[in-house]
Symmetry: D3
Subunit: 309 residues, 6 copies
Amino acid sequence: MNDPSTFRPRYTGIPSFMRLPIYSPEKPADIAIIGVPFDGGVTNRPGTRHGPREVRNHSSLIRRVNQVTGAAPFEAAQVVDGGDVIIEHPYELVAAHGDIEAAFRDFRTAGVTALAVGGDHSITLPILRALTGPDEPLGLVHIDAHCDTGDDYFGSRFQHGTPFRRAAEEGLIDPKRTIQIGIRGSLSSADQWQFSYDSGMRVMLIEEVYDRGILDTIAEARNVVGAGPCYLSFDIDSVDPAFAPGTGTPEVGGFSSLEALMLVRGLTGLDVVGADLVEVAPPFDPTNNTAFLAANILFEQLCVLTGRK
Amino acid sequence: MNDPSTFRPRYTGIPSFMRLPIYSPEKPADIAIIGVPFDGGVTNRPGTRHGPREVRNHSSLIRRVNQVTGAAPFEAAQVVDGGDVIIEHPYELVAAHGDIEAAFRDFRTAGVTALAVGGDHSITLPILRALTGPDEPLGLVHIDAHCDTGDDYFGSRFQHGTPFRRAAEEGLIDPKRTIQIGIRGSLSSADQWQFSYDSGMRVMLIEEVYDRGILDTIAEARNVVGAGPCYLSFDIDSVDPAFAPGTGTPEVGGFSSLEALMLVRGLTGLDVVGADLVEVAPPFDPTNNTAFLAANILFEQLCVLTGRK
Amino acid sequence: MNDPSTFRPRYTGIPSFMRLPIYSPEKPADIAIIGVPFDGGVTNRPGTRHGPREVRNHSSLIRRVNQVTGAAPFEAAQVVDGGDVIIEHPYELVAAHGDIEAAFRDFRTAGVTALAVGGDHSITLPILRALTGPDEPLGLVHIDAHCDTGDDYFGSRFQHGTPFRRAAEEGLIDPKRTIQIGIRGSLSSADQWQFSYDSGMRVMLIEEVYDRGILDTIAEARNVVGAGPCYLSFDIDSVDPAFAPGTGTPEVGGFSSLEALMLVRGLTGLDVVGADLVEVAPPFDPTNNTAFLAANILFEQLCVLTGRK
Amino acid sequence: MNDPSTFRPRYTGIPSFMRLPIYSPEKPADIAIIGVPFDGGVTNRPGTRHGPREVRNHSSLIRRVNQVTGAAPFEAAQVVDGGDVIIEHPYELVAAHGDIEAAFRDFRTAGVTALAVGGDHSITLPILRALTGPDEPLGLVHIDAHCDTGDDYFGSRFQHGTPFRRAAEEGLIDPKRTIQIGIRGSLSSADQWQFSYDSGMRVMLIEEVYDRGILDTIAEARNVVGAGPCYLSFDIDSVDPAFAPGTGTPEVGGFSSLEALMLVRGLTGLDVVGADLVEVAPPFDPTNNTAFLAANILFEQLCVLTGRK
Amino acid sequence: MNDPSTFRPRYTGIPSFMRLPIYSPEKPADIAIIGVPFDGGVTNRPGTRHGPREVRNHSSLIRRVNQVTGAAPFEAAQVVDGGDVIIEHPYELVAAHGDIEAAFRDFRTAGVTALAVGGDHSITLPILRALTGPDEPLGLVHIDAHCDTGDDYFGSRFQHGTPFRRAAEEGLIDPKRTIQIGIRGSLSSADQWQFSYDSGMRVMLIEEVYDRGILDTIAEARNVVGAGPCYLSFDIDSVDPAFAPGTGTPEVGGFSSLEALMLVRGLTGLDVVGADLVEVAPPFDPTNNTAFLAANILFEQLCVLTGRK
Amino acid sequence: MNDPSTFRPRYTGIPSFMRLPIYSPEKPADIAIIGVPFDGGVTNRPGTRHGPREVRNHSSLIRRVNQVTGAAPFEAAQVVDGGDVIIEHPYELVAAHGDIEAAFRDFRTAGVTALAVGGDHSITLPILRALTGPDEPLGLVHIDAHCDTGDDYFGSRFQHGTPFRRAAEEGLIDPKRTIQIGIRGSLSSADQWQFSYDSGMRVMLIEEVYDRGILDTIAEARNVVGAGPCYLSFDIDSVDPAFAPGTGTPEVGGFSSLEALMLVRGLTGLDVVGADLVEVAPPFDPTNNTAFLAANILFEQLCVLTGRK
């Protein structure tokens, strides 16, 4: 298949993710990029419900070949735009998570690998529930400014500061094969992320990344996760707000865009069985840089998904 | 009391509403301006949870005397900043409404008239519940682009498109003494606002206002509401998005700022027992014009509250 | 057909115009809304090539029924999103016009009425060429800040300041049945728009509209155009830049949004055989107000198209 | 002289006001548009020091002929860009006023009529001092949201809220031949603008303008000022912030752009001997609408200056 | 004391610095964060008078514990919001400095350590005057793009390009124990910062920092300043405008946010007796990234202040 | 010559590049900074036609001496603002290139070295044609995110993705003495930049720069280009969009501002006979950071031009 840009300029047409065909259950697909327009789990600024649409909008500039690795994901697999999950219960967090889980379970049943675009980080929990079971915990590469292993907050057990605690408690991820990279920012209390440490997750503060460099960080991630199946969750707030202002809980002092791209790319070869990119909040993104960076990270994630053995 | 601007420039200091003293239960007050930072009831773009803070920020430019009427509300009454309602259940719409109702009930018990700053329009229902009872329905002047008398939406009985239907059903407002002004925009179905018409509310489309002018519109409002106690609810999306872009469900073709000011001012003398200004969404307000207009509307509302007999 | 908003929130999904189905030649359609992402004809700021995409994006808020007239265009006709015209010669103005003409001719051949979304105003000429022939000139309602009847400019015979001169010269429109409404701004020379006057077009300066009001302006337009077939061309720069900043050649002192809506709506019943909305330039539209207003004007145009006898 | 746009596009070249030649003392000129980049007199948000540059930038779109009146000011007079006044004492208000007065006195000595672009409104006082003397007070048309006849503020006798009080006290303007139009906003105290009333100035609140319309307002202005020499001072904050957000002390509820243009144009024929446009603050003008409107108002002022007998 | 975020969401309530209690002279406090809303000393773009308010606004996201060091400054000391200095002479630079000096002297007398938030950099001189005397010069860590040791400018001896020259001349700082870090940008003349070199200050250009790395830079700073008492002045323009666009005299090529945080944090253990953060200009900060970064730098400064022996 | 900032603040006056005198053919000049306001060659977002004006606007902050090298280019050479090239054929790419070539040929004939400010990258081809001939190919340092050695695109042989292929084909540059630095982003096809590799150009991906550092990159560039005459072309999209959002085809993961400045500065001593800075698109630059960075890069380029032997 030729690049559609040879017959129409990139800024034209109805924007699907990376100008991909739209998924229909009748036609086979290997990988679907799926929007999850839900932000009912945020603790600070909402707006990520608009994330999938703007990431679609700015993903038209993504082309077909990875210049660094030579990967050509659209040739390596049948990749489609999976549309947006229909959230039938936008006013109820737990029920909305049920809607999300059901949708991703359908994709899994259809044999389609899911690459999700949030929405807030609370959506990763139902995605993991759809992707695996308590008796088969996944490894996890979690790139984020926050560990997201906090406890209940204002009566909510499932807001976007807790998904990885709940996932570990439910046996969906293996803390020993979990690494959290880019963590920073002040803490509400000294033990805010204690669950990560107590459960055996590997926490890399951004300062450690600064000291060791991206290549060493990649090695550490590969070492922690190992050869088994794993999930890749990328929170755009891992990137510095200078590069990605459009998010709800920004933390200064994060990755540059280049570091973020290299970090994801460096995971190639891991057995990544699903992935997400979350927390893009377009109302705070006057230049659209955040949505555009997200589209590029998605492309690297796609290359990782199609690059596994 | 002298204007504080005689001893410190307006852009300085910690921003309370109109640079007013902060309410404490120990000190008597007649009127409190109260923030309600909640947007869990929206159907489209969220962000009004940030409304109270930005309205406070830009209300520092409000001075002490109404140039048109001569009213001096800070001399006519003890006016304070009532702080923000503490929403203990931000993830549950019905429970959050309970938090809001309780807070406003406390103010009522303390003899303080409440002027609320939203937050989305769903908050008006718990405020009305706190303000009156089923056996004593209030009149209502409702200035808005939408009638907000729709029915359930995505399983929610209390989202921001329904408060006045629920209020009428609960006997909190008297449809016969209710006027809705500035209504416009396309409809999901021909009967979207049928409840307004069926229950006897007076609906003035913006086109009717254009034809008759603001003075005539005021006369109509006064006539519908009559001499009894009434509530005044002002949705900032009644104003055209050119003047007030910072809102979640904009509708083009609305009031100018001047028309909005005149309309509220024209209600002076009605027995307004409570009021709100809702739907200011700062993430969509790059010039801060919306928050600043909201502060001016609040001042006119305050003059109406202090101007009743 | 129920409003799709009953099963998915409006901010979700891949944005087609007004969330309409995508046109395919195999399925019959009465009216297609068609993007023309081309701005090679501008004299000042470019950017309207991005117009169709952002109008699509913000048209999701358009609902199904016209609240003022009761019109339900999606029930009155089979309306679809016609996609974007593929401009195969984006670097050559005349050849690009050929691409546009061919595309609209195909729609005409298929019996589909076209409602175009620009792009710059130069696109109206090839659309008119596709729509009619020299021996059957159309009437024209042209709402704009500029007459667009200038002459060659920097060697270009077909830039966006000339389409209506060329259309008249080619016999595609009848100057005697042409009205240009909202004209204003300083002139390069006293005779810049002399062609309009000399050919018999009716030119209404914005000051005349201010004096006579919108209802009288509508009456004048209906009178000039009469009962025969006509075309409706709406340049978003007719609207004041306070309401519609996102355009390339702004002129202060224009219509309000409400006036613009009323003006288009007032044309209902004319024999409008085609229409366009042009000159939306998203790079200059930080609030997206322009794209959103454009979507609302489109809806009124659609009601006019479905409302003719 | 032909319009330069016939040999270079308007967005090109080094931006002088309206693409006019730069003044040099050696070459005769009738009228100079002069920047006064000074904002040391503001009481709220600074930034008007950047006004002249951005008004120059956006004035390139101004063409040569007034479409409504047919006036061609660049043919009626030798009009030049007078450059910016060099403020040698930017940190001292009174001394800076001295710099401004000296510069305008030089223009007057050279027989050049001055049209000033601020800068904050405090600059009008030194301009008036340069333009006339205590024994020959001018009439004044003052279009503004504020009367600017307040008293000392934070120890400053000459900040931007007082120039017309000082001018009257110094005998530079005749209060009986002074009209202030568009006044609005809340007041620090009931007597904030008492000087205007006590001295006999005619104060037209915006509400009076709304009631009577622009044509009647013009008649009133002409009547107050009469046949004698007068000055025309236009504060951009007279216009509503929806149309002109870029200013330091905004007041909602002001003129539309069209009303402002008509109002200035309606003064044609008065013996206007000098004029200014002040308070454009580009840091608050994300769309540049304010600077562009200012350029259009300047053009109308220029037509008034060249249109007097 | 628990984090207030456990009983109210961070985006709610009246914004004091880091949601701290407001200082009152009656209650003891160890450290006060004090706003200095003054920008009368700038040479280029004004706007830092609005800095304290926006830093307060965005500091609500600051939590209680430093994740890297474990420091808990709100438990280590009684920290309060000291309000804004009341500038009684906003139109006179020298007198305004007197107001500032008096205010900080009062805090010193009350035994309160001051952490100032500007305002332009000229405010550091009166703060130093309040903090020490000519016979007890302080060491200085000065993080900035500019040495600010220039001479008179446009007749002003105390504008924001000179404070450290004046401080050295007045014996308030010891040049031999002064280090200036992050210096860059073109120079008005080769000797613009000659005073720094001649007086023995250690000047580290940003290029030297790039070569040596942040850890080495910290070591150099600690070495220069030594064990004696010192002051810490942080100009936000030391950070690259990509990270901190909201400032009046930006210089490209500066620190990343992470480098800035690490640099300040690395000063822990020095005998820092006072500190400031200056030059945040909100009108140039569309994403609010600058104010938010400033809040984070303030938190690190606070940890340094509470971390000294 | 003294810095003009000693007699007028930098934000004042009509903005020529770096406040330089305007070129006139009568007066000798060594170097001219020349605007090329043309964007008819873009493939994605237009807007660089506005580049020269905004770079001029923000270049007023550039001072006279390079703080790192001590270079004083305005003393080393007679530097002027060469104005904007008059594009007489803005609607025809090939003819516009002819206009540009002619203008630069005139400067060359007059003995003036040209430093061009675009405009899109297609302008480099006509500049090279004016600067040299087929029999004397120049070396090239090309700093960019894209190799710009693609082939025809939508029928255009000379759009902004091809200039260096055409230049090599025409013998204007020597591929063996060409280095392309900062290349990144996904590719339309694996062989999109094959011409670079096949012709012998040295391509440094940004990842290689990250690994080796800026100093090593400079060494590589100097080695490739060698001692002969060369051209320096700087595309602002080589810099990361966090630092330079204002461009039409952004690629995430680019240089920081500091790296870009160091890279250009490191070329001092090469025999650079001409240079350009292209692709600044102000409509996408809400903070003006891009235009301001461009001005600083221009200053470094100027230092390189005046620093050759």
